[in-house]
Assembly symmetry: D2
């Protein structure tokens, strides 16, 4: 039975080399990218096994990962002694069953967000981990490792700009499926800001409201953009513009407003170009270049067992608040978020 | 009887020189600054007379304005044949009576914002000007002349970033009187954004809500900062962070979000400095350096009779919406703004 | 006989109105722009008369300037009692004769740069003004009034970044006449940086070298770009990239390097746009928008008689150093600049 | 005998794990930092052994590197079968002997810059590697891996800004030992720009000149700053401001000027702060945070055997051009650089 010193820790491989063997469930865009990082950019890890419903896709990733074993049964992967820990990057609806299997097997697991799409699913996972008695689950809210966000948190800790009052967030994607359900802007996209707000202020979100202007003609009927207004228990206001058909590029920015100063995260690229009458910096086309460093650091932290990642409780809370925001969007009313109290296992 | 070709036009002086003689009522900070601009930086105008309750202050400004006449009665100044037009920069509560006197005298008048502090006062002015039958009144919403805001309006007109959806505004002052009434943040400060939102989108504000995080410990009990959320008749959302104890400096910024792109106004100064571990641009200490060019252009436009300034109707609308925002702040509810229809005189 | 209190002062008009009547010789792009500013954006001046070889062009500018008189003889304009001061914006080769005529008439004159294209021509002007005994001539090095450059000079005076060591200048135009003489990059364009270097450091340039990389394929045989390396008497190094076929836009920038910090002038516009994968600020197409404020302030200073403009000695020195740079370009050698000592009239 | 498929390739460890065991000679600031990266941030490597003249320092680094063996003889480390490749971070004067020993042992070696302090030393290394017949040596010019510099090279390759004409470089350190030899600014600091110029344009430097303004009062007699002007064989001009007592912080920037546009590398941090009247981004205190990512990618590339690092020939060329610059500084003359032709082993 594994005894974990650090939360989320991945134990050293049994081969005596100190290299940990990771099994990956789901080798789509995210899973393949994690496999690449584990193989080429993270110290102390190798991809030991992969599973995907699309067997050919699994074999491709296994080949690019130094010849990892291809499993045809995800539960066999989870159970295999040659797999030290599991990374779940399969479709959202499957997260719950795989995470529960990992907990049952006593194996550390990194699950892509969301932990589960429903509050009930998240609650079942909390129950299982609590019963297990130690933390095995890390949720892939990678922004917690982004150098920009960690700068903000470090700056707050210095007190140099005083106590926080507000956080203005902008979260834009170039394009989404036309007519996508309006709730998805909250549950799939703004959920990152829900987590970051909780993490940055070490505080729970206690009230939510959602305003929506007229929608973009490019949104195909989806209410896009939206403006979420979140208030934390201690009274910090965090507003979030989520706009998934912004067309011009991918962008995540925020400004933290405190009592004597503010800090802005905009993550400019290292170079700018003067051409055709413009002095410009490029914006990324999607989230992967923007958060490439965050993903690498998240995986390294997980492999090192450093325990800075989001817990199952964080995954539960993000889904819980997201559901309240969806209700607020639909009703036009402000909602008080009635979050259960934090289980003992997740209090630091 | 004056026949105006252009709205707000200041007629040429009777001396045949083409130079217009302006009378200034109120020679505090704003009035003195206007006197300086009219004397040294605007073509076609001189300060012909000044009045202030503080006679010594009036004499000082008159002397610095090339020897303008000092009046001891503001109504005498308004009536004097040697005064072609009147600029009102006295205390807010006195605006109504002086503006009404100018209308009665048939003289063009530039009144600092607010046109009047109450909706009723503004309505009486509208009635007077409507009865007069032509536009004599310009309201000093100088941001309409700021090169940054006019850039935004010009960009919208090109269609290059598509139709507008949102405007995110930030309006910060370093310090306010501790314990100042919370409503003043709206009526004195955010009123500029109320006007700019109407002007930029050529649209009326039809719904308002106000969110307030916990207040800064520096605010002495005032609810500061606040987040206004305004919606226009066509569905554009304009949110306004107003924070009058931001401490670090004076700052007015916004980002206009449209269907295919966004435009940000931040007005950086022409130089930046590298020193002591920082690469920095200076922020202005107050609104005067930030809007120096806007004030100059506003006055030049008024003297030229170019008619780009805010009308009495704009002054009325700003006060009307501000009152709705004050109610929304106090109640925590969303409010529909039931604005009267625009009188014929103000339709272009 | 004019008695000048301030150098370059334009006396008040004889009509008793305090408005000065300016005669403009040369109504091409620059002359027409000066006429517009004097008429619409400068306090205390009107255009009293214009002359141009192209009579129709002169009539157009006169009409747009409130009905100024059109002269068919530039010397008649200079001599006319209804002209208080003269602005010369005709072709470079004609500057000398018109400036000399103004000095002979005892009239203040603002001459566009260069004062004269040759060192000998400039010297004849110095002799005439010295013989006259007081300063009448201002040379149109408008950058001395640019808010960015005056910021740099003010910063140096505070001592906050210590004593100056270097100035890195970039000066780019989108396009020049293909095959233009290589010396023109120095005498027409970089001459602005020669003046700014002297003005900023209040120092003479004592040594020059010119380096030239391979030329742009767009330059049609002109040696373009070039890198001038200037050293002042006190040892400050000022390098100048001059590139007149930079294609992408017009740009003037510099970085001042001092003992404990540096200051950069880049004059960003007030707004930026996010569109098509770029976050960009626009660059001006030519020098007029970039230096619009400098031209206005230069004219206002001249009309006010505030005397901050470049003197005939500054005009002489710029042409003198430019000639040394041309020799350095042609020979590839470093040159010591053997400037005559400053005449008494120009020592402050 | 090692057979290398890729230049600079580090062979897989003999333990069959695929993890390469690196021996580090010199565990000062640079060596310790490399040990940390190899242990915690690079895939596929462990620190297998360390040597330092200061035995205690070596033990400290060995302990922090997962218990690497401490050697008391650097040649024993090089010879040890349990060491797959060697990283040299000892004092400059010792580089030559250790690199030669590695070549003699047929072991891949990453040598911190300079390859050797003298042209003769570098030549002896070239001879040894050429005699060996395949490339074993990588020189630690880490900037070749900096995301900013690789962006510039990638942009040039697209042709989007046309053919290169100039590169303006700024390289500043906050403080150096007072009275340090003036040549050190070139051989220790600007040598990075010599390498980057060669790498970016894939071209040799054929002419050099050095200009020096008056020195900073903080330099204690060293000629600081200096301006190097380098010209490549194809005529691109690369100027380098090197200033090692700039006081305000560490900064490396450049602007690449091409026929239709320019690209600037300034590497801003992800966040900016508004405080005390300034909107600022922090500048790093020294080179390590600025080039942290470059060092990591350089090591990963070396471990992966990807062969993007600088070769022994690049190390020779940098030292060769640096010597020419030192002569140019001392004489004040332009120098033609008479570089030998590239040996066959180093032609791609």
């Amino acid at each position: 039975m594994t005894t974990l010193i650090e939360p989320g820790h991945v134990p050293a491989g049994t081969g005596g080399t100190g290299v940990k063997r990771i099994g990956i469930i789901g080798t789509g865009i995210m899973g393949a990218d994690h496999a690449r990082l584990l193989t080429h950019a993270v110290s102390g890890a190798v991809v030991g096994g992969v599973f995907d419903l699309d067997d050919e896709r699994a074999r491709g990733v296994a080949g690019a990962s130094g010849g990892a074993e291809v499993f045809t049964d995800p539960y066999a992967l989870i159970a295999d002694d040659a797999i030290d820990a599991v990374l779940i990057a399969s479709s959202d609806a499957t997260h719950e069953e795989y995470v529960l299997a990992c907990v049952a097997a006593g194996k550390p697991v990194l699950c892509e967000k969301p932990l589960a799409p429903t509050v009930d699913g998240c609650a079942r996972i909390l129950d299982a981990e609590t019963a297990h008695g130690s933390r095995l689950i890390t949720v892939g809210f990678m922004r917690r490792f982004d150098p920009g966000y960690t700068d903000l948190k470090a700056l707050l800790a210095t007190g140099e700009i005083g106590a926080p009052l507000m956080l203005h967030n902008v979260h834009r994607n170039p394009a989404a499926v036309p007519g996508m359900p309006s709730a998805n802007l909250i549950t799939n996209s703004a959920v990152h800001e829900l987590d970051i707000t909780r993490w940055l202020f070490d505080d729970e979100i206690s009230e939510v409201a959602v305003h929506a202007p007229r929608s973009s003609g490019n949104a195909g009927g989806t209410r896009d953009p939206q403006l979420l207004v979140l208030t934390t228990a201690s009274g910090v206001l965090s507003d979030v513009e989520i706009f998934v058909n912004a067309r011009y590029g991918y962008e995540v920015r925020c400004e933290l407003v405190a009592e004597t100063g503010t800090a802005t995260l905009d993550a400019p690229p290292p170079t700018s170009v003067r051409r055709s009458g413009l002095h410009a910096r490029e914006l990324p086309a999607d989230w992967r270049p923007r958060f490439a460093e965050a993903y690498r650091l998240e995986l390294q932290d997980w492999i090192d067992g450093a325990g800075q990642g989001a817990t199952a409780w964080d995954g539960f809370a993000a889904t819980f608040v997201a559901q309240a925001c969806v209700k607020a969007l639909e009703s036009g009313e402000r909602y008080t978020v009635e979050m259960p109290s934090t289980p003992e296992l997740y209090r630091r």
